[in-house]
Symmetry: C2
Subunit: 282 residues, 2 copies
């Protein structure tokens, strides 16, 4: 079975999945997306992804698209792929029209889903840690909407690679730590977890949410507050979280070692919880 | 002859022009574009558009693409369309790859050109004027690169329409007037033209450049400086300039009439000069 795509209710090889050059996703980045982890042949945290997709589409005043149909498509193509550990990518654009900034009133959203093999199983152990650089956040003002306007993210990732680092962390005005190119940032100091609050400047990450909620259940508060790069550099631990990232310890930022320079117990606990959630998914 | 597209050296109906769902233009807005006016069957200011395309691609470290081939494609498809007054749209994406923020080292850029009939001939008289609203500029920090990250522009245009206006003017911090959703902004006060200087926050417009250069030749300086919305509201004239916009008087901003509330001599002189350039293009 080749890696597969889903379009208009049909399953086809990804290489045959095409869109019009007048798809607004192509000409205006007028499209939203989700990346879902398939584990044991099942999409993890599917309902949360569908809810966020709905939120993104509502924020942009997209035409209606049945979430049941989206869900059906995801399950169908993921099953057809026969890939146990998959990366499910799903994009919805506003639709096709003759190029004009102003969207037409009646449009048919274009849904595309692709399923590829994940590079690694999600239930593997914690990474020994990677390094990151910091970059000024030049993205637009609504990063809470999960749109395909990802060019600055790609540029920052490229810059990281050129500097021998694995990822880049976006800094807002006054060196506020926002998030990385495709994941949220957490720090740990004296046993307390901190992360940027939900504002228009960061993505409401699902892995972020799962951890905060489970900590709250256990009576531990994750502090959601603004902090600067100085606090990050002085933290005991720094790590990134995201659907594909899972939990990734950052042991060096801008060539400065973080804490002991090795992954810490906070990241390990986070990952343990996440793997338990993945293993026991309903 | 239907309206035509050009892809991979071939001419085809626009409805048949497709791109891969894994084109980075679709998944990352990793693409740049130009809109060229065809007049009397010839692309106006073609070399300036090609130069700007090259500048956009260089700024993003795109793989090489022969500008001669791009030029050949534009001329070929515009001629084949047999449309005297056309809108030529040209998009170059970085290329296709398995989805990853980091671009592959070796990529083949994807060039698409479409030609459509212009709504109106470019040599028509000055518009009686339209109204505009102002909106906070939430776009990314490199609007000088002509990328397809146009969702905030589309959102602002939609907001203008909902408010009964024709366009929206982006305001930066401290209410600085930047540009409109697809054109530059000029004001006239006491016979002097003012426009935003070239910074990462505005597009280096070709119509803007043509006017500034021709004024300089005639010994008249266009003042390129930052000004606030208060100065715009107190101006004698406000107008937009762009390839398709040409020169468009704005007679009302946020429901406040500008100057006499009618198009003024500055906009008329600008348009006269532009039409002369179009008529006498080499």
């Amino acid at each position: 079975v080749p890696e597969l795509a889903y379009q208009n209710g049909k399953i086809l090889p990804i290489s045959e999945a095409m869109v019009s050059v007048e798809d607004r996703g192509y000409q205006f980045a007028d499209a939203v997306y989700e990346v879902i982890m398939g584990s044991q042949g099942r999409p993890f945290a599917l309902q949360k992804h569908l809810n966020r997709l709905h939120r993104s589409m509502s924020a942009l005043d997209f035409p209606e698209l049945s979430l049941d149909l989206v869900k059906e498509g995801i399950l169908k193509v993921n099953e057809a792929s026969e890939i146990p550990d998959s990366v499910i990518y799903l994009q919805v654009s506003r639709g096709n029209q003759v190029r004009s900034h102003l969207p037409e009133r009646e449009m048919n959203p274009v849904l595309t889903i692709t399923v590829r093999r994940a590079d690694e199983t999600p239930v593997r152990p914690l990474s020994p840690g990677v390094s990151a650089i910091t970059v000024p956040d030049e993205r637009w003002g609504r990063c809470d909407i999960k749109t395909v306007q990802l060019l600055p993210n790609a540029m920052a990732k490229t810059r990281a690679e050129k500097n021998g680092a694995s990822d880049a962390i976006f800094l807002g005005p006054e060196n506020v730590v926002r998030e990385a190119t495709s994941s949220n940032v957490f720090i740990v100091k004296d046993g307390v977890f901190y992360t940027h609050p939900l504002t228009p400047n960061i993505l409401p990450g699902i892995t972020r949410e799962i951890f905060i909620q489970s900590q709250a259940k256990a009576g531990h508060e994750v502090v959601e507050e603004i902090f600067s790069v100085e606090r990050l550099l002085g933290a005991d631990e720094v790590f990134l979280t995201g659907t594909i990232t899972r939990v990734l310890p950052i042991t060096k930022v801008d060539d400065i070692p973080i804490g002991t320079g090795r992954p810490g117990p906070g990241a390990a606990a986070f990952l343990e919880l996440l793997i338990e959630e993945i293993r026991t998914q309903k």
